[in-house]
Each structure stands twice: as C-alpha cells, then as structure tokens.
Subunit: 670 residues, 2 copies
C-alpha cells in the first residue's frame, strides 16, 4: 500500500507550485532546454548493428552490456551454453522426471494418433503424387528425430495436406510424376533435404523472424485456399477419374472434373467415397460436441479403411471400376541418401522449392505448437523448434521421407487424448513402423475413394471462417492480405498465393509509411497532457498557438514532402478559418514525439517548412524531438538555423514559453 | 505580450493543486480513463481512403469537410477551378505585369543561354547517339511549350547529359543506332512520347510523390555516377576512336579505350580537345571566382566551337584524322508524328524506357526548379511542373525532339544572367531556331573532340562531393543509398544504379520497421514528463515500476514477435539486475504513444506479452494508446481481457495510479 506522505512528496516534486514567477519559469525553461540540447550522442549505426547481430545470434546475452559486471557476463555465457545444449535436446529436461503414469497417457495418445495417422499418411502421399508407403515412411523417422530435439509436447509430426500439395504442385512443373516417377521422387527428396537445411539454418542463425513475414492473416487465407484446392483435387479419387489436370487452380480442376464426367467415370467410387465421407463427418461432429468422445473421429478413418477394404475384397468391386491402392511396398524405411541430387539442371529449382516448403512448414508447425503451448501455459522458442524441424527433415530426406511438419488435426487429437510428452510421437512412429512391417499387404484392396474422403474430412479444420471474420472486423488491410492469399491460391497457383500475401503485407507497411497523418493537439482539461483533438473531443485548443503532431515513425524521402505539404495546408486552412474569429495563429508548434528517425530528405523538408512558415509571419517551435532525430538535426546544423531557444522538451513547455516569453510576441489570448 | 493573470489562470487550470486527496485523485483518474476508453471511433478505412484520393486529386479542398459550411465548400471549389486553370497556364499570372525593362533582362539572359545551349545541344545529341540537329531541335520546341505552361522562372529547358545517356544506353539494347539509325530514332521519339505522357499523367493524377521515391541521396549518387560514365564516354570523341563499346559501365569503357589506343587513334583530336578543355575549365574557374564574369564560362563553349572550326577549316586538319561533325541538316523542326510506333514488338520496351526517363527527368527538373525558386523565395507546385514537362515532351516527340528537361548548368547561367521570367527560354529557342535556319552549314568543320570537351567541362557540376559528405555525416543509411546508386551506375548499368537506389531506400524503410527499438523511461526532475533514460540521463526511474516505450510506428506481423521478445528480455534482465537491490519490479507500464497502427498479429503479440507478464507475477498497465490502436484493441476485446482499469491516459497517470491504488499492491517505495 502506498503511504500518503510519499505520494505527496512525489507530486510536489513533479509539479512546480502555481505561484512560481515568470523569472523562475524561464529559469526552468532554460534548464530543460539544456536537457534537450545537451543530450549525449546516441549509439552509432555500427554499434546498433553489432548489438542487433549479437542479439540475433546470442539471444541470452544482455543487450546493454555496459550495465553488467564481468562476472555476470561470464555467468550469462555459461548459462547461454547450457541452455543452448538443453535447447537442442530438451529430452534432457523432461527425461529426468518421466514416469510410468505419464507413459500410460502417452501410450494411449500415441496409439490413437497412429490410427488416424496411417490412413492420413497414405492419403497425403497420394496428394504429393508419391506411392503410399512414402507417406508412412514420413510418419516414422521425422517424429522420432523430433522427439529427441523438439520442445513442443503436443505437436504431432508427419506429412500434412498443405505441404504435400505445395510440394507436388511445384515439383510436377519440373518433372512429370506419372511418366518419370523415379526422377520426380529424387527431386522430392532433394527438395526435402533443402527444406530441412533451410529450417536448421533459420534456427541456428536465429532468423526465425523470416517466418513472421507470412503474417497470421496471410496464413489464414492461404490455408483456406489450399484446403479448397486440396478438396477439389480429391474429385479425382472420389469420381475414379484416370486422366486429371496437373494444374492446381480451381477453374482448371473443376473443368477437368466436368470433362471427365462426360467421358468416363465410375459411380461406384463416388457412392463408396461419399458414404464413408458422411460417416467421417458425423464422427467429426460427434467428437466436437462431446469432448469425451474425441477418440471416435480419431479412429473413424482407420475403421473406414478396414470396412471399405473388406467390402471391396468381398464384393470384388475392383473388377467393376472401383480404384484400389494395390501394392504397397512394406518394410523399414529404405535409405535415400544416394537419390539426393546436388548437381544437374534442377538443383536451383529444388533449393527454391525447398525454401518455400521450409517456410510454409515452419509457419504451420510454429502456429500449431504455439497455440497448444499457450493452452498448457509453457513457452516455445521458435528458433529451437526450427533447428529440430530442420534436422528432422534432413534425416527424413535420407530415409525416403518427404517434408514433414506439425499437423493441426493430429495435434488436436494428441492433445485431446491426453498426451503428456513427445513420447506419444515415438509410440505413433513405432505403430506406423509395425504396420509397415506387417500390414501393408492387407491394404491392397483399400479403395482410393476412401483415402479421398479421409482427406476431405480433415479439411474443414483448415478453413477458419471465424478468424477471417475477426480479421475483417479488426483490420481491413490485414483482411486484404488474407483474401489476397486465398484468391491467389484458389485461382492462381500456390506460389502466387504466397507471393500475393507477402507482397500485400509489405505493401501495407510501405503504404502506411509513405502516407502518414498529422493531428492537431489540444490540452486535456486539468492536465498537462496534449492529445489529438479528434480522439479527445474535450481537449482545449490554445488560442493563437497551432499544435500539430507528425504521425509517422520515420520522416524520410518517401513521405517528407507529403508531411511538409500536409502541415502547410493544415496551417493555412486553420488560419483561414480563424481569421474571421480574430484569433489568428501566431505560433506553430511541431510535436515530433513520434518521429523516431529522419533522413537528409526529411531534414530538408523541415528546413523548407520552417522557411515557409517564417515567411508568412509565424513563429515556429519544435517539441519533443527524439534521440536519433535531435542528433541528426544537430549534425545538419538545423537547430542553429531555427534557433536553439525554439526547441522544447514537450508541447506543454512550448505552449507555456510562447505565452510567457517576449520572443513570441503579440499573443494576447494565452 | 502575455499578461500575468492569464498565465496564472492557465496554470491553475492545468494542474491540480498539490493538496488534492487520494479520493479526488482517483476520481480524476476515473474521469481520464473515461476519456481514453470512451473516445469516438476513428474514421473508417474507406473514409481515410476517400479523403486521401480527394486530397490527391483536389489538393485545394479541405481534408476535413465536416468543419466547413456548404458556402465555404463552394468557394473552395471555385478557387480550385480557377487555380487549376492558372496553374496550367501561369503565363496568365505574370503576363499582365510584364514590361520592357523585364524584357531587356530576359533578352540578355536568353542570348547568353543560347550561346551555351547550341554547343551543348549538339554534344548531348552525340551522347544520345542522334544526329546533331536533333539536339538543336530539342532546344526549340520544348522551351516554347514550357514557357506557356511552366511555373519556374529560372529553369532552362533543353537536352541534358544524364537523360541523353539514359536514353541511348537503354534504347541501344533494343536497336543498334549505327546499323539502323532510322529504327533507333523512331524508338527515341516513341520513348519521348511515353515519357511526356507519363509526366503529364503524374501531374494530372497528382502522383508527384512517385518522384520522391528517388531520394535526394540517391539522386546525388546517381548523378555523380552518371557524370563519370558520361565523362568516360567522351574518351571516344577525345581520342578520335571509331569503334567503341556500346556498354556504359566504367570497366567496359576503359577497356575499350585502352584497346583502341593500342590500335588506332588520332592524337590531333586529343591535343585539340584537351587544349580547349583547359580553356573551358579556366573559364569555369574564373566564372566561379568572380560572379560578375558569369558570362565568360557561358560563352566560352561557343567561342571554342567557332575557334576550333576555324582552325580545322584553315589547316585542313580533317584530312589528318581530326573527326568533324560534317553535315548538319538545317531548317525548322520536321514533324515526327508519323515516326511514333504504338504497335510492333518494341512498344512495351519504349513505354518502360519512357517511364524511367520520365522519372529521372522530373527528378532533375524539380530539384533544379525548387532550389532556384527557394533562392528567389517563391513556391513551385511539383504537380503543375509535371504537367508542363509532360506536355512539352509530348509536343517534342511530335517535332523530332527527344526528352528535354531542366538543365542545372544552363539554369545557373540563366539565373546569373539576370533572367526575370520564362521569356528568356523563348529568346533562347528563337536564337537556336535562327541558327538552325542560317548557320548549320558553318558547323561542318567543327571537331567532335570540341563537343566532347564541352560536355566534359559541364560534368563537375553534377558531382557534388560536399553534399555526399554531408549525407555521410548526417545519415549513414542514406549514404548507403547514395553510394549504391553511384556504384550501380559506374559498374553496372544506368538502370541497375536506379534500381539499387530505390531498393536500398525502401529496404531501409522495411528494415527500420521490422527491427524497432524499445526504450526505458524515467521521469524528468520537477516535471511530469517521461523521457528515454539514455537520452535524458538525469531522468529518475520509478522504483518498482518498469516503464517501457515501443519505438515503432507500426506494430505488425513483421515486428510484433520481435517487440514482444525484446520487452520480455528487458523486463527479465531488469528484474535480475534489481533483485539484488531489493527493488523488484512489480508493475510494467507499456507506453504505446508511438504505435500509430496495429494489426491482428500485433494484437496477438500484445495478448501473449500480457499473459506472460501476468504469469510471472507482474501487473501490466498500458498508457497513451493512440486513436486507431485503441479502436482496434476494443474491437478485438483486448481491453476487456487486460482490464479497462489498466488503460491510462499517460505514463504519468499510470505511475501515479500504481502508487495510489490498491489494485497494484505491495509497492512500498513509490
């Protein structure tokens, strides 16, 4: 509890007594002006750059080492090294306290996860235009590697729909998966290797912020667009079409589907697929309604696979046009190290595809990991996650896996199933491995239409209409990035969607920088605070003194002329309006509190503005100049040119001074 | 003079008396919180967009029409229409008060200008790889059109070195000027037409800000690089080389020159060129030293041409390897309307080249016009200038001219010669026209080396080392754009230089946006002002209260996570440092005064930050939230989540409240 005397002394120190004389006031003013003008030089650009690099590479070190003793620095270094090692292998942390009860939970969660993972993996491999076993391989090695290095406890690692689509849509432009499956597969592994390398590099060089460039809004739009594209692609499996377009945009896919319907399709596929799709969606609905029945939607896909396979096997439906998976190669993940191509004509393409997949996979995994970590109340370090993801994909690329990441739907199942640690991923990997060794022969008669319906049933989770609506409500420009990504994916290609999202997002930053606003300030009643008169309608304008604030963090070549003209226009308009009321402006005070940086064009604009305002007979004061700005203004001799006595600590000081001083003459209404 | 009682009443209104009780204080606090939370909704994005478009198209209208009466709006509209017409033809303004004495000055200035313009025009036509007469044509029509429409009084219109180089370096990649001079010329006229159209469109659509994208620093670097390139290109004329590289970069040009020296060159050209270059440079030096002798460097080029032509004619030096201009087609500007090509394979290229030339020409003209207008103390409207330049180049493209703009060196001569109005341009155009009609035959024996030395002597004015040094001193990142443009032009191509400049400039904006700083605040002694404790070392930190300000105008996807982590790090570091001093942080106050916009990612980051800080046992207050930000935070329900009583009008309020209130408990040191 604060005691009364303390508060009193604080207040009396903060505020000069009202009976202060003019002399006293100008003495204080002089002292405060000295504070403004005599501020130490800010750190140089080189220093800033060094600090920034050090912060990026060694985030555990202090960014202000002058304050630290050498011993503290040493401690920080040791702590940094220890945390780096623990960061790389978080197993070391939770491994000590792992117990049987936790394992029980993880075992159950892992088995539930496996029952969902096996059919999904086969389906996603189909989406990636690879043989089914590659999806299963991808659910074995990456989860095991992640279990050693990852820090999220709930995330379920494996192939996901969007990355599968992304990979196949980009690689099939380079190699045709139908005519040259071997070359296509080699490209997939090479791209996976590059994706892993980029992810690990991002993490090691602490470039995690690069993933932020895909803004949340862009991801929402991109995911929704990709989900619709993936859904449309399932028309192929659902209708039993053999010849289908390789393009991914909605128009081409629908056109191709309609053309096929007129030519040759097998209604039995459709009937089978749709019945099980309805079953899956009902299971999903029930699982959403009753949280305790979470296992029902989780095992429904496996149940569908088993049932439909039995139906086809017993009725010989594959003779009547129902397409089946046929042979799946069983056994352990074979090595694919010899299939990586670091020469040849396509290595640049593979690297580019790897980079794009790396960013999208990371964006999805980090979004998934963060949201579940925040439910359980622990923190995930994005950079460490990236290292884990990177090594897991590098290991994957050597063992016949394609790009794996955290799956949203399976992570949710894992969470609901009560997983305690990442051990559930190990259990799942083991279960998938077992099925690879023993059960692949049983999947011969599994209809492809069922795989399509399993993929389709997982898609609604990717389309987040509520979030899109929230974005629309809160920020219209953000929504533009969202809808840009959505339409780009839907009607262009996946890459165009991503590009549109990034371009719109950065375009927004530039647009807001080159078209800043200005605002007129007024004193809030009974305070020394000056606020925007539109935000605070009760604010009182000081007669004769025109207070204007530049609403831009940066006054630079791209906006300096605009700001200058805007201020001139405000002043002349205000002057015109006030002329009739006989309260002509005599002093203009420029509040620079928001301008955190200025360049030579900005300084020139300020000089021109000052010259113009003086030429129409106004006094000009500048208040609240920030550290880097005042330093540059000093270097450019601007302060001497406008007069050092016209630089104020705050708007309040400037107003007071313009009322008190004889320098700003003729004010009769202060 | 301000009277004492007024000041007193102002002060007593502004500051609560020190004997105010806690109840009173919390009553005031509640009222102020209401101001913050109950602020009206800011204008929607659509409204902002409409205002911005209206401002762009009708700059004379008010940007805040709610304040205006309908009559005032009508008046503004009439005024706008009148000023638009007067703006298009400023001749209407000064024409009324034109008199004989002014004409005398203009006549003298115009004749001086013509004597400099004729040799320069021939030289620049050579640089543009056109026949000499096209340079002369360009000094006739565009100045006449500009005289009707332009608003600058000093600017001298005609061909300039940089634009000539730019045009030839880009068009020769499309058509070879030596083998297909006709096709090359047609492309030049088409590009000129496009340049004029773009310039006029920029002006009419008020897109003048596009020219600002070439920052001042970039222009300084670009001009210097271009000057060196132009100088090196003159080696061809100076050495009398026939086969010269068409590349513009320094390495290729020097290589080509050295190779030629080993093969075949004519020393007589060099001797002649160098002697007159020394004469021209001495003239320039004298003109700079004695302002009254300004006419000496101005007529020196014409004198050189006359003398050298006579020498060659009398000595038959052209038989001994001295290259001469030979035939110049005389007569009026022929029409070139039929030569414009709006079809064919190169129309896109021409438009692109036109756009680049338009921007560079405008940047140079506006820089020239502004600097001389500011000496004479009048204003130039960039948009109107652009319309004038645009129409002058469109007219030029129809009458065998290439892109003209304001020349820095000739404008300086015009100014020194005492021109009063743009009539000096008319006089110059007439003089050039006269020489086209009568004297072109006399230029047969003019040596090309003299044209090279005339161009060389004008180049030092384009290299502004002092300005580059000033930029280096004031802003290192600005200097990076400058040096980027310089090196890009010098070692790449002219386009690469321009691109580098624009890319570095915008890269700077993005870099500063994604890596913002934070600063710790302290109360300045005896005030209610809180400032950066590094800028104001005398500032006093409030024990137990951690005041941090986000130094970013925009809290968005690209920097929100960075800001969040930076704040968390500052808090934990500060906490570690203070723990030993037993003054543990209990309250964190976030000063958002600089954050003028936020997006959904920013809001998410704020939510996460709040959650984290609360989870480590800290109270969080937010102060000084700007208008658009508080609106979005309300929409996103953020304010309810953190508690509306934790939102403050200012940092001072937050500190006071954290001392007074029992909500923020346990503070024993306020």
């Amino acid at each position: 509890m604060a005691s009364l005397p303390d508060t009193e002394s604080l207040k009396s120190e903060a505020e000069p007594p009202p009976e202060m004389s003019i002399e006293n006031a100008s003495h204080h003013q002089a002292e405060r002006a000295e504070w403004v003008l005599g501020s130490p030089d800010p750190p140089s650009l080189w220093h800033d750059l060094l600090v920034s690099i050090r912060e990026t590479l060694l985030p555990n070190n202090s960014n202000d080492d002058t304050k630290r003793s050498p011993m503290a620095q040493k401690q920080a270094l040791c702590r940094g090294a220890a945390s780096l090692f623990q960061g790389l292998f978080p197993t070391l942390c939770w491994g000590k306290s792992y117990c049987v009860s936790k394992f029980k939970s993880d075992l159950m969660a892992g088995l539930t996860l496996a029952s969902l993972c096996i059919p999904q993996s086969i389906g996603y491999a189909n989406l990636a235009k690879l043989d089914p076993q590659y999806g299963l391989y991808t659910s074995v090695v990456p989860p095991l590697v992640y279990a050693l290095m990852g820090s999220s406890r709930e995330i379920a690692i494996g192939p996901v729909a969007v990355v599968s689509l992304l990979l196949s849509s980009m690689i099939q432009n380079v190699q045709d998966p139908l005519t040259e499956p071997g070359a296509y597969r080699r490209l997939v592994f090479t791209a996976t290797f590059f994706a892993g390398t980029f992810q690990a590099l991002f993490g090691l060089l602490r470039l995690g912020f690069l993933v932020d460039f895909l803004s949340h809004a862009a991801i929402v739009g991109f995911m929704a667009g990709a989900a619709i594209i993936i859904g449309l692609q399932q028309l192929k499996g659902l209708l039993g079409i053999s010849h289908f377009t390789t393009k991914t945009d909605a128009v081409s896919v629908l056109e191709s589907a309609f053309r096929s319907i007129h030519h040759q399709w097998y209604p039995l596929n459709f009937v089978l697929g749709c019945s099980f799709l309805i079953f899956l969606l009902i299971a999903r609905f029930i699982g959403r309604r009753k949280k305790k029945l979470f296992w029902f939607p989780a095992i429904a896909p496996l149940v569908s696979v088993v049932l439909s396979t039995l139906i086809v096997f017993l009725t010989n439906a594959d003779k009547h046009g129902v397409k089946v998976v046929k042979h799946i190669k069983g056994g352990l993940n074979p090595s694919s190290a010899h299939e990586l191509q670091f020469g040849g004509p396509h290595v640049g393409q593979s690297a580019k595809i790897g980079l794009i997949c790396a960013v999208v996979a990371l964006a999805e995994a980090i979004a998934v990991g963060r949201s579940f970590a925040s439910i359980k109340g622990y923190q995930i370090d994005g950079n460490k996650e990236m290292v884990a993801m990177g090594f897991m994909n590098i290991a994957g690329s050597l063992t016949s896996c394609y790009v794996a990441t955290g799956s949203f739907s399976r992570t949710a199942v894992n969470f609901s199933a009560g997983c305690q640690t990442v051990v559930s991923n190990i259990v799942m990997a083991m279960a998938v491995l077992l099925s690879l060794l023993l059960f692949t022969k049983l999947l011969y008669y599994t209809p492809i239409a069922i795989l399509a319906s399993i993929i389709l049933s997982a898609l609604p989770g990717l389309i987040d209409v509520n979030e899109a609506l929230r974005i629309w409500r809160v920020d219209k420009l953000d929504f533009l990035a969202c809808i840009g990504a959505f339409l780009g994916v839907l009607f262009g290609t996946v890459e165009i969607g991503l590009l549109a999202a990034v371009a719109i997002s950065f375009g927004k930053i530039i647009f807001l920088s080159i078209r800043p606003g200005t605002e007129l300030l007024g004193r809030l009643p009974r305070t020394d605070i000056f606020g925007d008169i539109r935000q605070y309608p009760m604010a009182i304008e000081t007669p004769g003194v025109f207070l204007i604030r530049i609403n831009s963090g940066l006054m630079c070549f791209a906006n300096a002329n605009y700001i200058r003209e805007r201020i001139m226009r405000s002043v002349t308009e205000e002057d015109d309006a006030k002329r009739t009321e006989r309260r002509k402006i005599q002093v203009v005070v420029l509040d620079m509190s928001n301008v955190m940086n200025i360049d030579t064009s900005g300084i020139t604009a300020l000089e021109e503005l000052h010259k113009k305002l003086v030429s129409i007979g106004l006094e000009v004061g500048i208040a609240n100049i920030r550290w880097p700005v005042i330093h540059k203004l000093k270097l450019a001799n601007f302060l001497d040119r406008i007069g050092r006595e016209r630089v104020f600590l705050s708007v309040g000081e400037a107003v007071e001074y313009s009322c008190l001083s004889s320098k700003f003459t003729g004010l009769d209404s202060c």
